[in-house]
């Protein structure tokens, strides 16, 4: 069957850029500029960061949202207008207007986007240079990422903790590294992120601008426990920060000075090996929620695994965690404690946990 000749002199009945087209272009243009500037002034997606670096990133983000909104409206606007205006009448077998190109227009929509992205690059570079500028009296904290926990070391005070405390308004330089696989140190509210890579020190600046407690999240896939590798950064005024440091130092000295009675030694080992990061234990002031709470483990350990005494259960739970996983808890406990812990430490920790009645 032969097709009806598809060809009729086109171009006669469909003007290319008529009044409705011009009107649509103006409306789209105005909407784009208005919406773009509204969004550019204050974007609804990312605001009130709690660090000075974060505040600059938020303003830059607003500018990007403004320009993106404008371009979004222009493209979607012309697309929707074309769908409505140039839809084919049911029986119309004619071809459209054979427009092959328009050099002026094509140069325009190559040059303008190129100009926009170059400007955005320059603005981004200025923000980047500013947030990564060192500060003369910045405090240094060494951060070590390890499978599924963060450790912080304060060289000024020779203090190691599982939680980051920083003074308000003072720039802190974090020197980040990893003890095993890659991790990423991320404080969402402060817009701070840097990968922790083994054998390499990576740095990032934090200048907190609002007191409070903000989560620290691991942002690089680091194994089974990646989703639960969280800690927190506590921002407090300088005096409160100093009080906290002295309290920590005092506890450390008392623990070191006193003969290591099993209880304090057990408590100290419980924190040193990161058990506190996942297992709640009131006696050791541990708040972790990833694994089961260990309050009163001593009295109930005997009847968890049939045939295993309390002591055997606790010891196997530490050195071979995968042997028994408490129901509806994720199987994410690191399995290398047998190598990481000395025999003496292991025994001291087991005895300490046995006494949790």
């Amino acid at each position: 069957m032969s097709h009806p000749t598809n060809h009729r002199p086109a171009g006669s009945n469909v003007p290319v850029f008529d009044n409705t087209g011009k009107m649509a272009a103006i409306i789209i243009g105005v909407t784009a500029v208005v919406a773009g500037s509204v969004m550019g002034a204050a974007n609804p997606f990312l605001s009130n960061a709690t660090s000075s670096q974060g505040a600059q990133i938020d303003t830059l983000f607003s500018l990007f949202v403004g320009i993106a909104t404008a371009i979004f409206i222009i493209v979607q606007g012309f697309l929707l207008f074309s769908i409505v205006r140039f839809a084919r009448a049911p029986e119309d077998e004619e071809d459209g207007v054979p427009l092959r190109g328009n050099t002026k227009l094509e140069v325009f929509w190559t040059a303008v986007p190129a100009l926009i992205v170059v400007i955005l690059s320059v603005l981004s570079y200025r923000v980047l240079a500013d947030i990564e500028r060192p500060h003369p009296d910045q405090m240094v904290v060494e951060v070590t990422g390890r499978q599924y926990a963060w450790e912080f070391y304060y060289p000024d005070y020779d203090l190691k903790t599982a939680e980051l405390h920083i003074p308000l308004g003072r720039q802190v330089l974090l020197k980040i590294t990893s003890a095993d696989v890659n991790h990423a140190f991320w404080v969402p509210q402060m817009r701070i992120k840097k990968d922790a890579v083994g054998g390499k020190i990576t740095t990032v600046n934090i200048t907190a601008t609002a007191p409070g407690v903000y989560p620290i999240v691991c942002a690089e896939l680091c194994g089974a426990g990646h989703a639960v590798m969280r800690s927190q950064v506590v921002v407090e005024a300088e005096p409160t920060f100093q009080i906290w440091v002295q309290a920590q130092l005092g506890a450390k000295q008392r623990a070191a000075a006193m003969p290591p009675d099993p209880k304090t030694l057990g408590r100290q080992l419980y924190n040193q090996y990161g058990c506190n990061a996942c297992h709640k234990l009131a006696d050791a002031a541990a708040v972790g929620v990833v694994g089961p709470a260990l309050d009163g483990i001593g009295s109930r350990a005997a009847d968890i695994v049939p045939g295993q005494s309390a002591e055997e259960y606790i010891r196997t739970a530490i050195i071979r965690p995968m042997d028994f996983i408490t129901p509806n808890y994720p199987p994410v406990m690191p399995g290398d404690y047998a190598q990481r812990m000395s025999q003496a430490d292991l025994e001291a920790l087991v005895q300490y946990l046995l006494e949790q009645k």
Binding site: R88, V97, V181
Partner: protein
């Protein structure tokens, strides 16, 4: 022998008439194209099922469906399967079928190498399934060491599978480049070629130069896991960033491998259903080549927060920003193509228009990611997951569906049902936006990538996303039913159901085994709408005054 008989018997044949012709080492590019498309679609369903599991786990913060390692294995294989066994093979299948027809060739330049390329995918796919069953490929599709060195045996199988898939991809690229440049019909110069041929040529250049680098990186990973060579482990002196450099040197161009053929398909769909020539042919062709070359100079924007040399981030930020320009040029040219046209909203056209609309969102979020300070906050978060799905699903997969609805009549000789097509489109479109738009916000508010749980305040966004994922899963059913039913009961399509220009529409549907019984006559580029009559139509009217075909 007439042009329409299957040549050869036993395991090596040329031409596909019976079902068994498709299960053996067949050297007909049309059979191989269908083999690629069917294999890719099977893996699309498998990858989609994995995505369903992931979204089911993330529907609530404390679900226990998939936790820890099992979640990581699922997300790793979702990513790997969707990229290497669905999107790339689907484009290669479509291009394998259509490009020789479009340029007037009887087959690809190296038919046997073409069959080898396909049959290399079978061990690759099987090894990938075995690595899933055995478990262990837990380090994401990016497989960053040292994690990817410590994971169980499944990771080695995963790496071996990728080597097979890589070789298949490289041989395919060589085949396409020689076919496109050497086997064009007489009279078809480079500017009379369809834009899909330009896009496939640009894609093949990227595959040709990028894939070997991934192959080298995978070789090192396999040697480290097997022989203990300390390439990437800091303890042994190795450098984890070496893997990231080599991996992203291939994998960023790989995202252009996954979008350029989509650009090509859109440049074919829009003129047909707007009844208008493509606007700015030369600029679109040139921007494809610009993306192919420039795509190799931007890879480190994946490593802005990885501790790479701080100053080097600035040049990579600039190149990553500038590469948005050629893509922007294409989008504006497509808008100009449908402007003042006669738009016919077939399902293929709807997917094409949705491609433009969705890909713009993905492109714009890409500009955010190119800026280093903003990337510091959003790297490795769900903002990136939203970006990559807008360009991969909103872009590549929608263009694959646009291509499938356009060429299904040519491949099978039967039309797909438009009502079911429209149902498939609207379910996919709504499901897709419901799934992935909320993820922009989840990422900004602090949800990292690849986690099986999240803080309770992000529950609403994740629930929305999971509902959308359920909708997308349902959306595939009307397409499956439509395709299977139309194979036997669809309306007979005839050679040119869409009344389109292009040599592939001048032969029967499905085309004879050797494509062109008589050498095709090339009258100009395949976009003569409003300028010259359809080739092969009777009752030729005088061409439009003053424009005798071509520019």
């Amino acid at each position: 022998m007439t042009a329409d008989t299957v040549v050869g018997t036993g395991l090596v044949r040329h031409g596909g008439r019976k079902f068994s012709d498709y299960l053996i080492f067949n050297t007909d590019h049309k059979v191989i194209g269908i083999q690629y498309l069917v294999l890719a679609f099977v893996f699309f369903l498998f990858g989609g099922a994995l995505a369903g599991l992931i979204r089911a786990q993330l529907a609530t913060p404390d679900a226990q469906l998939l936790t820890g390692s099992s979640y990581n294995v699922t997300l790793t294989l979702h990513g790997t399967v969707m990229i290497f066994l669905w999107i790339i093979p689907a484009f290669v299948g479509a291009a394998n079928y259509v490009v020789p027809l479009m340029i007037g060739a009887n087959d690809m330049a190296f038919p046997r190498l073409n069959a080898v390329s396909f049959w290399l995918l079978v061990p690759g796919g099987l090894l990938m399934l075995v690595s899933f069953a055995v478990g262990g490929a837990e380090s994401g599709w990016t497989a960053y060491p040292p994690l990817s060195v410590t994971t169980p045996i499944g990771q080695t199988l995963w790496a071996l599978a990728l080597q097979f898939i890589g070789f298949s991809s490289i041989f395919g690229a060589i085949n396409f480049l020689v076919t496109i440049f050497n086997l064009r019909a007489p009279g078809m110069g480079l500017t009379q070629m369809p834009l899909l041929a330009w896009a496939v040529a640009a894609t093949s250049i990227i595959i040709l130069l990028g894939t070997p680098v991934l192959s080298g990186a995978l070789l090192m990973l396999i040697l480290q896991r097997w022989l203990g060579a300390q390439f990437f482990t800091p303890a042994g002196g190795g450098n984890p960033l070496l893997w990231q450099n080599l991996f992203w040197f291939y994998s960023h161009p790989a995202v252009y491998i996954m979008i350029l053929p989509g650009f090509g398909i859109i440049s074919e769909v829009l003129p047909i259903f707007a009844r208008k020539p493509i606007f700015g042919y030369k600029l679109i062709a040139f921007s494809s080549m610009a993306i192919a070359v420039f795509g190799f100079l931007v890879w480190a924007h994946h490593m802005f927060t990885s501790g790479m040399d701080p100053f080097l981030r600035v040049p990579f930020m600039v190149t990553s920003m500038i590469i948005a320009v050629p893509t922007g040029v294409k989008i504006f040219s497509w808008l100009a193509t449908i402007w003042a046209g006669k738009l016919r909203f077939t399902t293929s056209m709807m997917f094409g228009l949705a491609f433009i609309s969705m890909f713009v969102i993905g492109g714009l979020s890409g500009i955010f990611l190119a800026s280093v300070p903003i990337d510091i906050h959003v790297q490795d978060t769900y903002f990136v997951v939203a970006h990559l799905h807008y360009v991969l699903f909103g872009g590549s997969v929608m263009s694959i569906f646009a291509g499938l609805y356009l060429w299904f009549p040519k491949i099978t000789g039967r039309m797909l049902d438009e009502r079911l097509g429209r149902l498939h489109f609207w379910l996919t479109f709504m499901g897709f936006n419901l799934t992935f738009f909320p993820q922009h916000l989840a990422g900004l508010q602090g949800m990292p990538r690849r986690v099986y749980t999240y803080p309770p305040e992000l529950w609403a966004l994740n629930l929305l996303s999971s509902i959308g994922a359920f909708l997308m899963a349902i959306a595939v059913l009307p397409f499956l039913y439509n395709a299977l039913r139309s194979l036997v009961a669809g309306k007979v399509a005839g050679p040119n159901p869409w009344r389109a220009f292009g040599l592939e529409w001048t032969v029967s549907s499905p085309p004879p085994v050797h494509n062109f019984p008589t050498p095709p006559v090339v009258e100009g580029d395949p976009y003569g709408y409003g300028e010259r009559p359809l080739p092969g139509t009777t009752g030729v009217a005088a061409p439009a005054p003053g424009m005798a075909g071509g520019e």
